[in-house]
């Protein structure tokens, strides 16, 4: 019975090929754009998640802030309010796993005739742990390098390839501000940061060396930034509170006086970036769904025309024993077949467009099985939903009225 009905639906679709194809086109475009938009949205989410995972988790950044002495306020990082001693004190707090004071800036790197401008980060060994940054070859510097202010450096992949090409950078000597630095390790790849900077265009050197040889420091013992990692996300609120209280106490700030430092929660920034892309991908999907809806209405329209055109056929079928549910099933099946066939073609075209986008731009595209299943389920429901009204109209026809129809 079902097979016979499927065959008939197939015949009916073939009987007016042009119209069937045009109706299907609505579904093809709808499903295709849903698939493409979801692939782009999910790709963006994936890219952001990837970036966040390279950033290091549960991080705070403290930035030297305004000193309000005598009503004079300088901007963020302007005054040397944070110190290495502050960093050491924070490291003693509960729930803190890594603390690294940071002094960084852009500098020219020179190797033989090559030179390249990169971010130079002066810091201490916990920095690599806080950022979850691995050393691919060679080895990291240690506390003794920081104490002795040795001229050693870890180099990121972008800086390395620009200075050394395909050569192994480990063991080579580069110059920063005339000082020679021996490269002791090559850092693992990190890719872009949330703000779009290339994190691999970096050289990491001991903090003390950076302050003495590279940046110079008129206020010994002070730093511009301190990176703090909490042991877990749950520990973060307590760490934030304790850290703020500790610094206010150490800086002798009175009640009512502003903080002389800024505290940035990188985890929160990451969450909001992830939320932004999630909203964007939902929006893209929603916009694409509208075209799916339009495709569904197209099916309903054609099915209504078809019912009117085939009224006499319906009458004949009823005259030889078709029940209402037989007629209902026949037209429903036809709508379902058109929408599923359209859906299938739409899936293929949408996926092809997504792959093409991926090939022609550097956009990340993710086609998930779930998205494909959802598109199929939605197309099937649209077929049933928009096919139902015309089908019910056909089934409700009076046999003799339908037979008289010319």
């Amino acid at each position: 019975m079902l097979k016979a009905m499927l065959e008939e639906a197939w015949h009916a679709m073939g009987a007016n090929r042009m119209r069937t194809v045009l109706t299907m086109l609505g579904m093809v475009i709808g499903v295709g754009s849903v698939v493409l938009m979801m692939a782009i949205g999910q790709g963006a989410q994936y890219a952001v998640a990837q970036t966040i995972s390279t950033m290091g988790s549960n991080l705070y950044i403290l930035i030297s802030g305004s000193t309000s002495t005598g009503g004079l306020r300088s901007g963020s990082g302007g005054g040397p309010t944070l110190t290495v001693a502050d960093a050491e004190a924070i490291a003693e707090l509960d729930g803190v796993s890594n603390v690294a004071p940071v002094q960084q800036g852009t500098q020219q790197l020179v190797y033989g005739p090559n030179n390249w401008s990169a971010t130079v980060v002066g810091t201490t060994p916990p920095y690599l742990d806080a950022r979850a940054w691995t050393v691919l070859s060679g080895y990291p510097f240690g506390d003794s390098d920081v104490r002795a202010a040795t001229r050693v450096a870890l180099i990121g992949q972008t800086a390395a390839s620009n200075l050394f090409g395909a050569d192994d950078p480990v063991g080579k000597t580069i110059r920063i501000r005339q000082s020679p630095f021996v490269i002791i390790g090559l850092l693992g790849k990190k890719g872009q940061s949330l703000d779009g900077r290339d994190q691999d265009d970096t050289v990491i050197i001991p903090l003390t060396t950076a302050q003495r040889k590279v940046f110079g420091n008129p206020f010994p013992g002070s730093v511009r930034m301190i990176m703090v990692q909490a042991t877990s996300a749950q520990a973060m609120p307590a760490v934030e509170k304790d850290m703020t209280a500790l610094l206010r106490q150490r800086h002798r700030l009175r009640e009512g006086q502003d903080n002389d430092f800024f505290l940035r929660n990188l985890a929160a920034a990451a969450d909001s970036a992830a939320e932004t892309t999630r909203v964007m991908s939902v929006l893209l999907g929603a916009i694409a769904s509208v075209s799916l809806l339009v495709g569904g209405i197209g099916i309903m329209n054609i099915m209504l025309v078809s019912v009117t055109e085939r009224t006499r056929e319906i009458g004949i079928r009823m005259a030889i024993g078709a029940r209402q549910k037989d007629i209902l099933a026949q037209f429903l099946l036809e709508a379902l077949m058109i929408s599923l066939a359209g859906c299938l073609i739409g899936l293929i075209l949408g996926a092809a467009a997504a792959l093409l986008t991926n090939a022609m731009t550097d956009m990340v595209i993710v086609i998930s099985g779930a998205a494909v299943l959802v598109a199929f389920a939605v197309a099937a429901s649209i077929g049933v939903f928009f096919g139902f009204y015309p089908a019910r109209r056909a089934a409700a026809l009076d046999p003799i009225e339908a037979l008289r129809h010319q």
Partner: protein, 236 residues
């Protein structure tokens, strides 16, 4: 005595028109026994088609009762009526009413689809009926490829495919020439000979002569109900 195949009592049918209700049938009483061959005659507009549609369960009466094989049709739902049209009645139309996009075999097999018969037995039964009306070799043709007389034979094969007790035909030869008409009537006679009750509408006395009983309508009423005079068929 066995219950008649058809028994109508005071059957009436009014159509709603712009000028008010128009009574096309005004109280028809008739009983047709198993195995009868009845011709219904009468002038145009006398209510013959209206009556046949009621007998075929295609339409519902405005008043009166209709018993089909002892069942009161008025008490049946749409699905039960569909089942009667599918199993008990074979309806043959003046305009053949084959589905144009289906092969003759599929057309003949269609009633079996609605009675849930599987594909292979469906095919066999359809072929058997096509053979019986002499069109077995056209099984895979489309209706538009064959003549009117052949189309009517296919329509008869379709009416027969579910082995109905009753064949109803509204002017089955109305669109055919006299030669073809005679062939179709011969087929009806043959079916009647096998025990199937046949009721048909016609305007032509020589077609009606094939029947063994003639019922005449005028203005929605039966005005005469007589056996066909012996020798009438031979006379034409």
């Amino acid at each position: 005595m066995a219950e008649p195949v058809i028994r109508v009592v005071a059957l009436g049918k009014s159509y709603a028109t712009a000028a008010g209700a128009f009574p096309a049938l005004r109280g028809v009483d008739l009983a047709i026994d198993r195995g009868e061959f009845v011709a219904i005659m009468g002038p145009s507009g006398s209510g013959k088609s209206t009556f046949m549609n009621l007998l075929g369960c295609l339409d519902t009466p405005s008043s009166g009762d209709y018993f089909l094989v002892a069942r009161n049709v008025a008490q049946l739902g749409r699905d039960d009526l569909a089942k009667l049209r599918n199993r008990t009645i074979g309806f043959v139309f003046q305009g053949f009413n084959l589905l144009p996009r289906m092969t003759l075999e599929d057309n003949v097999a269609l009633p079996l689809v609605y009675s849930g018969v599987d594909r292979e037995p469906r095919r066999q039964k359809a072929r058997q009926e096509l053979d019986r009306v002499g069109l077995g070799s056209y099984a895979q043709s489309l209706p538009s490829r064959i003549s009117g007389g052949q189309q009517q034979r296919v329509a008869i094969a379709r009416a027969l495919v579910n082995s109905p007790q009753l064949i109803l035909a509204d002017e089955p030869t109305g669109n055919l020439d006299s030669q073809t008409s005679e062939e179709i009537m011969a087929l009806f006679s043959e079916l009647n000979g096998e025990g199937i009750t046949v009721v048909l509408v016609t305007h032509e006395p020589d077609i009606a002569a094939y029947a063994r009983r003639q019922v005449r309508f005028r203005d929605g009423r039966i005005v005469s109900d007589t056996p066909t005079p012996p020798g009438a068929a031979a006379a034409c």
